[in-house]
Symmetry: C2
DNA sequence: TATTTTTGATAAGAAATACTTATGATAAAC
DNA sequence: GTTTATCATAAGTATTTCTTATCAAAAATA
């Protein structure tokens, strides 16, 4: 098709062949073959020149369109090669999002101004699925996951704190041996934070027959209403106790914690970029 | 690109290879080669499956566009093969057009109802040029031309008649020997009819220093105004004497005539169609 | 945990395709 | 009438694509 377009432009087999960097017979043969494959002549040959047939004109138009689109591919490919990632689909779990997202977005916007960031907030299993099928590029969540296809990079560790009603302010820190009997309030199923809290509190199975909360914010409000006690991650303290009055207690020993980090597909050709972005985030999060 | 589009559709190298009617290694190799040529990975391979890279998605979109356009070519080519000519660019000289065109168009519309006809009226040299460069398909004009690239088909012959002022009505038919001295009125240069008339009348070069007319209609009006005498083709008599009063005289011997026919490029792939159309016209013109 | 199955990649040789050089044919230009 | 310009043809070569056979890795199964 490129040969044909050149031939039409120059109206001369020899010159078109030169431009196409092939020999004149090669070009003649290709045009002839084209006509055979199409089952219709493209040009009407005369002694020293030729004119396009009606179909030849239609075909040429289509050629220009197609060759233009092919050239566009080349441009796109070159852009894709040189480009340091232009869009970032970022996932984040609900027990991190409200507290860390502002800082994350600010940091990214500062270090990667052109980056078009889209955020999806969902629970770990959904995020992992989306990472695998390419819907998400990276996700901020609690590690470890142990998925061998995913790169896991730890950003920081954070402690959990005990939240109890204000009237318990001067009571001693409960000992692990008493945990089972305490009125623990938990997040609903699916939140990794629920599992992390469960592993720490190990509440009596019979004891906890209350409604599970759908957010940390709700949990704290339930504590304030004296429905029980709970754990929240340290990063949530500031925001969640701003409009409530509860007692926050840090554990002395065996402090419960979680690891917060970033994941992405090891196989992604952008893995290197993701690592760099994560490094940026990690540094900013230390503060 | 077709392989790639199929691969994306099925998400499976083996199946895509089957559909593409090639072996699985062949498909793997072609995809790999594509990626090499583009300089960017199209898919992110994992153990038993793959997902498209960002560029892979862009490329796929472009592939669909291009492959669609290529498929269109196939349709166009098939249409071009089976089609009995859909559009006809017809040329006709000014000394025929006013008298024959209505009949020509009626005949064509009757025998080839779907034919999209475009008419161009111009002098022989222009028509021949347009025939050569493909602007026109066929032309109705006076033969012969003697162009070996053109097919010439005679439709009919027609006589020229003498047009003189009414007051000459009872005068004898002028003898050829007296022609040189007669006040001949002629068409302007470029009209083949002028040359045909000239060849017959052979007027004295000094004698004819009047303005040449740009149409037969004007010639007849000039005769009526007693500016001289002229020749017109038989087919023009009816129309041109309808609103004028002049004397029409047929010659007894050595009657001047012209051959009217149709031409087209011998090399045109539609030559056969043109011949058929001409036959239709020819039959209709006999009447 | 070991075995089988699934899936895509690799290797080597075969088939198909595109290209090159040399030559021919034809009509236009001189 | 000779030369020139132009495209087509022919034969052989180079390149590309494909095939079969085999491999490697991970997932599914026993």
């Amino acid at each position: 098709m490129r040969y044909f377009a050149t031939l039409c432009r120059l109206g001369h087999f020899g010159h078109a062949a030169d431009i196409s960097a092939i020999s004149q017979p090669a070009l003649s043969m290709q045009i002839k073959k084209l006509e055979e494959e199409l089952g219709t002549p493209l040009i009407e040959r005369s002694a020293k020149s030729f004119i396009l047939t009606r179909f030849g004109h239609e075909f040429l138009t289509q050629c220009h369109k197609i060759l233009g689109d092919v050239d566009t591919i080349e441009l796109m490919a070159r852009a894709a090669q040189h480009q340091e990632i232009a869009a970032l689909n970022l996932g984040i779990i609900p027990t991190i999002a409200p507290y860390l997202l502002p800082q994350v977005l600010t940091t990214l916007a500062h270090h990667h101004p052109e980056l078009d960031i889209k955020v999806r907030e969902s629970q770990t299993t959904n995020l992992v699925k989306d990472i695998h099928d390419g819907t998400l590029d990276i996700a901020v969540l609690a590690l470890p996951l142990g998925d061998q296809h995913l790169e896991e990079t730890l950003m920081f560790q954070e402690d959990f704190v005990l939240v109890r009603p204000v009237h318990a302010k001067n009571m001693p820190i409960p000992a692990p041996s008493s945990f089972a009997k305490l009125p623990w309030l938990l997040l609903e199923e699916g939140h990794c934070f629920r599992d992390q809290a469960l592993a720490f509190c190990q509440p009596d199975v019979n004891e906890r027959r209350r409604h599970d909360a759908s957010s940390l914010s709700t949990l704290v409000q339930m504590v304030q209403a004296d429905l029980g006690i709970t754990l929240i991650p340290e990063m949530a303290i500031d925001l969640e106790t701003r409009s409530t009055t509860v007692d926050i207690v840090r554990f002395d020993t065996d402090t419960p914690k979680r690891d917060i980090g970033v994941i992405w597909r090891k196989s992604s050709p952008l893995a290197h970029s993701f690592a760099k972005i994560t490094e940026t985030l990690s540094t900013a999060m230390q503060r």
